[in-house]
């Protein structure tokens, strides 16, 4: 039982918050922001080069992966919004955020991320999505864009009537409207927390099992590493899926909002399967 006691004494490296690395002016640069910049740079270079190398019959494997991912997002949008024209109109943002989250999650599983490189005792790199600031920014931008798209699609008054639906002389309408507006904040935090917790806890679980394994760390951590590869792509899919569902709800004009979310989600996923 010696190893159990040893585990409680020192413990595996567990980080919930990012650590500051250096400062530019008065801006503190943390390890997750640095990692986010690197992933953003890689993504820009990769996607722009894929866009230039894209042909009717693509030859290289990388371009095919990008095309398959983009087509997947366009399909998702088409099933959710109704027409392919609308899907292509909204596809650029959703494809970009899908690739960014997936790449950020997947690169976070590389050995160089974490404790292997340290600056002043802190890890030099930390996955951007394993930082609540990062995921909160991602969901804030996503939901702000959903609001922007909805206002552009239906005008500010009709968009507000989406929340305050019903008779305006009835005070209950306002109560329900404020409740709906509060629901937007809940959406924001549930999107951010889901992504953050899945990735951050994945990192913690890998680190705990690598620590408990001691000399057999590669064997004990490997199953969880494999699990995290699945979680990485699944979480990117879920983030985009839920954002698209919110968008389709916001630009759809319907009077009864009861069970609308579940209906749209199930309908979207069902028709996606049928389309395949």
């Amino acid at each position: 039982m010696n190893w159990l006691i040893a585990a409680t004494e020192t413990g595996p490296p567990v980080h919930i918050t990012p650590s500051p690395l250096f400062e530019i002016g008065s801006w503190q640069i943390t390890n997750s922001v640095l990692y986010g910049w690197i992933v953003g740079l890689i993504l820009i270079v990769a996607l722009v080069s894929a866009a230039f190398r894209s042909r009717v019959h693509p030859k290289s494997g990388f371009v095919q992966i990008v095309e398959a991912g983009t087509e997947f997002i366009v399909d998702l949008l088409k099933n959710s919004l109704g027409s392919r024209a609308k899907a292509i109109k909204y596809a650029p943002y959703f494809a970009a955020i899908f690739f960014f989250i997936a790449l950020s999650n997947l690169l976070g599983l590389l050995p160089v991320i974490g404790e292997s490189f340290t600056v002043g005792g802190n890890p030099a790199f930390r996955p951007f999505t394993a930082d609540l600031n990062g995921t909160l920014a991602a969901s804030l931008v996503s939901l702000a864009l959903v609001q922007y798209f909805a206002i552009r699609e239906s005008g500010p008054v009709r968009h507000l009537r989406h929340y305050f639906a019903g008779n305006l002389k009835n005070p209950l309408t306002y109560v329900a409207g404020i409740y709906e507006l509060f629901g937007e904040i809940v959406r924001l935090f549930s999107l951010a927390l889901r992504l953050f917790l899945n990735i951050a806890i994945g990192e913690i679980i890998i680190s705990v099992f690598a620590y408990l394994g001691k000399f057999a760390a590669p064997i004990t951590a490997l199953p969880f590493l494999g699990l995290e590869v699945g979680v990485a792509v699944l979480q990117a899919y879920i983030f985009v899926m839920l954002t698209v569902t919110y968008l389709s709800l916001a630009i759809k004009h319907s009077d009864n909002s009861d069970h609308e979310f579940e209906d749209t989600l199930v309908h979207t996923m069902h028709s996606q399967k049928v389309a395949k």
Binding site: I16, R194, N198, L234, I238, L265, M269, H270, K273
Partner: protein
């Protein structure tokens, strides 16, 4: 000051244990219900086995609660 009972020693561990145990009940039931519904659906109509990917989405939604509890382990002192 008069106490009904006093806890001494490593109280933090008891608190964390209670939190983890109580907090995992809900998500456990939730994921169980999803699995139950899926297996029922597959039993009635074997074609519906293709919806496994969709089931994972709903599992991830329920899983958020369990992850919140798990993350609190490292946050509370």
């Amino acid at each position: 000051m008069w106490y009904l009972a006093e806890l001494t020693g490593n109280v933090e561990v008891i608190g964390k244990g209670l939190m983890l145990g109580a907090g995992m009940i809900g998500p456990g039931i939730g994921v169980g219900l999803i699995g139950n519904a899926f297996m029922n659906a597959v039993g009635r109509n074997p074609e519906s086995a293709k919806f496994l990917g969709q089931i994972l989405v709903f599992v991830a939604i329920v899983e958020l609660m369990a992850l919140l509890v798990f993350a609190s382990l490292f946050i509370i002192k």
